[in-house]
């Protein structure tokens, strides 16, 4: 597991510093033990190697939440072939560690996306495509789509474009891989630490809340 000790900077527009994390990180979370106080140096090297492997085998969950998913198809198939980058499409959240939010998110979809995201094993990353995830895009005045994704889910990389081309997606994935290798991409840890804040935002927008309270 990644043993970087530095406290992650809050997500932009995220909760105020020092908000009490839901449960001491580590217990109740799926993998439990990785948050030890001071790691000896060989752990540092081990972490870097793990990150390297992790970065070079990104498994993307096959869930096209928005219109950007259609540009994932040329990426997944022969023309741009993300296989050579080590990226593969996986059917279920249990087997994948990258969730692509490919554009707008209807409130109904947001509920399923949150559930899928929470079913993914840590470490997991979110790639947000297009302008709809940043500030609402074309549907900024629609009563059924969310305007800012980073209020509900921690986003590691934004790929801009409406919709971003396969080449832009390749650049985006390479950026994600670089950030993972450097150990910077830790949106999932931030989600765990500020679960209250995220849950509170999610409940505000999802009216018929019937999701579990914990991050399983």
């Amino acid at each position: 597991m990644d043993d970087k000790i530095v406290k992650p900077e809050p997500p932009l527009g995220g909760p105020p510093q020092g908000s009490r994390p839901h449960a001491p990180v580590g217990d109740g979370c799926f993998l439990g033990e990785e948050m030890k106080p001071q790691a000896p140096s060989y752990k540092e090297a081990l972490a870097r190697i793990k990150n390297w492997f992790r970065a070079n085998s990104l498994w993307v969950m096959a869930y096209g939440t928005g219109c950007g998913a259609i540009e994932l198809r040329p990426l997944a198939t022969a023309r741009f072939d993300m296989e050579r980058l080590g990226i593969a499409m996986r059917p279920t959240p249990r087997q994948s560690n990258v969730l692509i939010v490919s554009g707008y998110l209807a409130v109904k979809s947001l509920k399923r996306v949150i559930r899928s995201y929470e079913q993914m094993p840590s470490p997991k990353w979110i790639v947000a495509l297009g302008s709809c995830t940043i500030n609402g895009g074309m549907y900024w005045d629609s009563y059924n789509t969310i305007n800012r994704l980073d209020l509900y889910l921690p986003v590691d990389v934004y790929i801009n474009g409406c919709m971003p081309r396969p080449e832009a997606l390749v650049a985006g994935f390479q950026e994600l891989m670089r950030r993972i290798k450097k150990g910077e991409a830790d949106g999932w840890r931030h989600y765990m630490e500020n679960l209250d804040w995220y849950k509170e935002n999610q409940k505000k927008i999802i009216t018929d809340w019937d999701l579990p309270e914990y991050n399983w």
């Binding site: 096209g64 939440t65 959240p93 209807a106 979809s109 629609s142 009563y143």
Partner: protein
């Protein structure tokens, strides 16, 4: 989920919205008796962005870019429908120049070709035939390159506008298009071998998901689904629009009305689109304006009126019911997509008795596009 589960041997499964087999973002709540489905309800709303509500808030020119987002694989039909509806209501259709009509027909056919390639890939993919979708999506990507060159955008073209189109054909477009068509044609026989020649596909497609003939007219079924029943219904022939009256092609029909027949109709329509594109490029006028003199788009008002325009999209008859009230904004627009009938009532009537493994191929064969259902 919250339904209380009576004690019965029936099992309830949610198929989607996160499922590799689903076509787009919808879910089918199914009740199973062993392997065969006894009942199914379609749930949509996962991609609802309230287009019609938004378009009531936008000027006419501002509704033009949002419309192509309704159906992603084939955006141009939407653009054309809104353009021709408002042209008819405002009287601008008399001024659309000749060349614009030809370019519009070309764009519509290219868009059909791209959508058909992807759906045929979906047919194979839903039955696990790995290589076919790889090739089909790659061929579709070649068509997208031509679109990028012509319209400035890969998937969303925002190109067919009121009064004509936004830009002229770039130089050498016809040659490059011919080159793309040749590449696609060279791959088609190979695709026939892999899909229609494969025993797996034939066994799992023939005789499965049969749509009875008598449902056809009553339910308003259209597109490849009705043509697979042997009924030659095609809007481009029934109510020819743009330049289709001057093109010679005949409606592709198959017998059997099962998944195999529908796939075969789509396969032959790919060839039909390729021939049509060649005809259009041959008869495309060289010079002439490509757009009419538009009024000041920030202040364009259309007199009161209502109309219903329809076009043949790859999934079937797509129509726009547009009502204007004399102001600068639409009073109402209702997008009638073919999937509204195919994906909900027809699918729910076909589900009882089919095997759970055949649900995905059945949905792909009906070419259900969820954003059309909930818009």
């Amino acid at each position: 989920m919250t339904e209380t589960r009576e004690r019965s041997k029936e099992v309830q499964i949610w198929f989607g919205p996160q499922h590799p087999g689903i076509t787009g973002n919808m879910s089918v709540q199914t009740w199973l008796d062993g392997d065969t489905l006894t009942r199914g309800i379609t749930h949509v709303g996962y991609l609802h962005r309230a287009f019609e509500k938004l378009m009531e808030r936008r000027l006419y020119i501002q509704s033009f870019p949002i419309v192509c987002r309704i159906c992603v694989p084939e955006p141009d039909t939407n653009e054309w429908l809104l353009a021709s509806a408002l042209e008819e209501l405002s009287g601008l259709d008399r001024e659309v120049p000749e060349k614009a009509r030809w370019i519009r027909t070309l764009v519509l056919e290219m868009s059909r070709l791209g959508a058909m390639l992807m759906v045929l890939g979906g047919h194979a993919g839903s039955m696990g035939l790995g290589p076919a979708p790889q090739w089909m999506i790659a061929l579709r990507d070649l068509v997208l390159d031509r679109f990028e060159e012509l319209t400035g955008g890969r998937v969303y073209h925002m190109y067919i506008v009121y009064g004509g189109v936004r830009r002229d054909l770039p130089e050498g477009f016809a040659e490059r298009m011919e080159q793309t068509l040749k590449t696609i044609e060279s791959k088609l026989p190979l695709i026939d071998d892999v899909i229609f020649g494969s025993a797996v596909f034939r066994k799992r497609a023939m005789g499965v998901g049969v749509v009875p003939r008598e449902w056809a007219f009553e339910m308003g079924i259209s597109g490849p689904v009705i043509r697979a029943m042997g009924i030659p219904k095609d809007v481009r022939k029934d109510e020819p629009y743009e330049k289709y009256a001057e093109l010679d092609f005949d409606v592709v029909t198959e017998e059997g009305s099962d998944i195999f027949a529908r796939a075969m109709v789509r396969r032959r329509e790919i060839q039909q689109s390729i021939d049509l594109i060649r005809q259009i490029l041959a008869r495309m006028p060289k010079e002439g304006p490509y757009c009419a003199e538009l009024p000041n788009m920030l202040e364009w008002t259309i007199p009161v009126g209502q109309t219903y325009v329809r076009a043949e999209s790859s999934r079937g008859e797509m129509g726009y019911y547009v009502v204007t009230d004399g102001s600068k904004k639409l009073r109402r627009v209702h997008v009638r997509g073919p999937s509204y009938v195919h994906g909900v009532s027809l699918l729910e009537r076909l589900i009882p008795g089919t095997n759970i493994a055949d649900l995905a191929p059945l949905m792909v064969s009906l070419q259900v596009c969820p954003p059309e259902i909930e818009r």
